[in-house]
């Protein structure tokens, strides 16, 4: 790649990201997903847990044996916040190419004289940035509403969030490619979201799962992100979550590579099948 091409591709990546963010903020309902939903969503689980704990919280000791804490509010809110981050990513990055296809703009982007991977990089950057903003605002909101406090290292928390990005958004790229083949997003989202809900310990400790389900859970990067965040909120630092950070770094690299590979394969397939512009 010569210097001129490099500049061209960089400008294209930035333009895609800017266009994505500009379009996003022109739909005012984004406020619901960023500010209202993160507050409303955990309430159902918190009240369920309060009911299960008993009037004086006498059942909390058995919860603590499995979860390592009696602070079920922080436990639940952490799980649901990461679940929502993943969910928003599925609808955003996961549905991005399909949305372009439905709008009719996918083909006009493909007419640009550049490798189409750079279009995906731009969307990836915009979605990751938007996801971080959403996550930060969600965490601030739940801290205010639910009184969740950070007892551990803020740098460990920041590192953990940043190192979770490649695995979450790599999964999103694979998902986005599958959506282009299936031409339907809802069913796929319900399926993937269901798997995450069940296997990643979003609202319960993974220890309650049967053995084989725990094995599956240990493979999924989001399980590691959620358990590590809980550990940091409870007072942990880099040393506490070193294993999870390593796992997230490796799985993130693998999932990113697989994501871009899936994108390249689907692109090739669509150019042969003539389905790029098909609704």
């Amino acid at each position: 790649m010569d210097e001129a091409s490099g500049m061209h591709y960089w400008r294209a990546v930035m333009a895609v990201a800017k266009r994505w963010l500009t379009t996003y903020i022109r739909y005012p309902t984004w406020v619901i997903s960023v500010l209202l939903w993160p507050v409303l969503f955990p309430f159902g689980y918190v009240f369920s847990m309060r009911a299960l704990a008993g009037p004086t919280g006498e059942a909390l000791s058995s919860f603590a044996q499995l979860a390592g804490t009696t602070d079920y509010v922080t436990f639940l809110v952490t799980g649901t916040t990461f679940w929502m981050w993943f969910n928003i990513m599925l609808w955003g990055l996961g549905g991005s190419f399909r949305m372009e296809q439905l709008r009719g703009t996918l083909e006009s982007n493909w007419l640009a004289p550049l490798p189409k991977t750079f279009l995906a990089v731009g969307v990836f950057l915009a979605e990751a940035l938007m996801g971080l903003v959403q996550l930060s605002m969600s965490m601030l909101t739940i801290a205010l509403v639910y009184g969740v406090r950070l007892a551990g290292s803020p740098w460990a928390l920041l590192s953990l969030i940043l190192i979770s990005i490649p695995s979450i958004y790599g999964t999103g790229l694979i998902f986005a490619s599958l959506v282009l083949v299936a031409k339907e997003i809802n069913g796929l989202i319900f399926f993937v979201r269901g798997l995450i809900t069940v296997f990643c310990g979003v609202t319960y400790p993974i220890a309650v799962l049967p053995g084989w389900m725990q094995s599956v859970s240990r493979v999924l990067p989001l399980s590691h992100s959620v358990s590590a965040v809980r550990a940091v909120l409870a007072g942990g630092g880099f040393g506490t979550i070193a294993g999870q950070l390593r796992y997230l770094a490796v799985s993130g690299a693998v999932l990113m590579a697989l994501g871009f590979l899936a994108y390249a394969i689907i692109q090739r397939r669509m150019l042969h099948a003539g389905t790029l512009g098909q609704h």
């Binding site: 400008r11 294209a12 500009t22 709008r103 009719g104 006009s108 004289p113 003539g274």
Partner: protein, 327 residues
């Protein structure tokens, strides 16, 4: 002779049949078409829906991989080196949804200018010039969703011209436009030609092809069935007389009787406004126009008015295929 800016050779596209086994023969969308377009020419692909025009234009614009054949744009192999070919191509896709409705006209042009690799300063100058040229400057900072169909089509054309391409491709550029907007767009296309650019367009409007194109390739069932200038194609029909008649009532038996007497074929449309059947009969000497009118009157037709007209590209298509473009 001018340099060929688009060279298409034995271009073919097959699609597997849906839900059928691999042994079933594929659907042939384009069956080995060849043509060359020299610099500065407006070249039209004309034919009914499903004839293979859009598939051809998509293969040239690198949005679809051909099954076989070759495409060169400004000398660049568009199949092996699509990015190099795309640097010489500006494309306006069919419909008005190829731009972002939640962005302003200017933002759309800035976005696509970046995708085409224009430096920011050059992009700003070109965008201002194009907005001015297409009479969009006053509305440039409004979201495209507030534009009329004609304005959106002008933004699409401006987008395709941003990189000053050697070849401009337009897929059904005036579809859905009101007559005034369509006329304006055709004027803009002529301007583009006057700048020395090559224009390739698809249309199923015969009059548009007749007015705009230097040469026309008539498509049917994925093949080119005629290729020449509109004048030459019509000249080939010099033995053809075309009778148009408005008739109050129609009986299919009359059409059969005309064909039995020697009419080549006929086409019938009902004019809702005038509440008459508009009959077009192609005659080639076996039956004169006078004889055809007399025959219709003898059969009991109430002819309100009739006229003779010069053959059009529609008549060329009917002569070549035995059917109207709308069928």
């Amino acid at each position: 002779m001018s340099r060929a800016m688009v060279e298409v050779e034995e271009l073919r596209k097959e699609f597997p049949r849906r839900g059928k086994s691999r042994q079933d023969p594929p659907v042939v969308a384009v069956a080995g078409v060849s043509f060359e377009i020299p610099q500065g020419e407006i070249f039209g692909l004309l034919g009914p829906n499903g004839a293979g025009k859009t598939t051809t234009i998509k293969m040239i614009s690198t949005l679809l991989k051909p099954t076989s054949g070759s495409v060169r744009v400004a000398g660049k192999d568009a199949i092996r080196y699509p990015i190099q070919a795309l640097r010489h191509l500006g494309t306006v896709l069919s419909g008005e949804r190829s731009i972002y409705w939640k962005l302003t006209g200017r933002e759309n042009l800035e976005y696509f200018a970046a995708l085409y690799g224009l430096p920011a300063r050059v992009a700003r100058q070109r965008i201002n010039a194009l907005l001015d040229r297409f009479a969009l400057t006053k509305r440039a900072d409004e979201n495209v969703e507030r534009y009329s169909t004609g304005m959106r089509q002008r933004i699409c054309l401006a987008k395709a011209l941003l990189a000053e391409p050697d070849v401009l491709m337009l897929d059904e550029p005036t579809a859905g436009l009101d007559p005034q907007s369509a006329r304006n767009l055709r004027d803009l296309i002529r301007e583009v030609k006057s700048e020395g650019r090559t224009v390739l367009l698809t249309t199923h409007y015969m009059e548009e092809a007749d007015q705009l194109c230097d040469r026309v390739a008539i498509f049917d069932h994925g093949q080119i069935i005629a290729l020449n200038s509109p004048g030459a194609l019509k000249h080939d029909l010099d033995d053809l007389n075309v009778l148009e008649a408005d008739i109050a009532r129609w009986d299919d038996a009359w059409g059969a009787a005309l064909q039995e007497r020697g009419a080549v074929n006929y086409d019938l449309r009902f004019d809702e406004t005038a509440r008459v059947h508009r009959l077009t009969v192609h005659l080639n000497g076996h039956l004169t126009t006078g004889e055809a009118v007399t025959e219709l009157v003898n059969l009991g037709a109430d002819i309100r008015q009739f006229s003779l007209k010069s053959p059009s590209l529609e008549d060329v298509f009917i002569r070549l295929t035995g059917k109207s473009l709308r069928e």
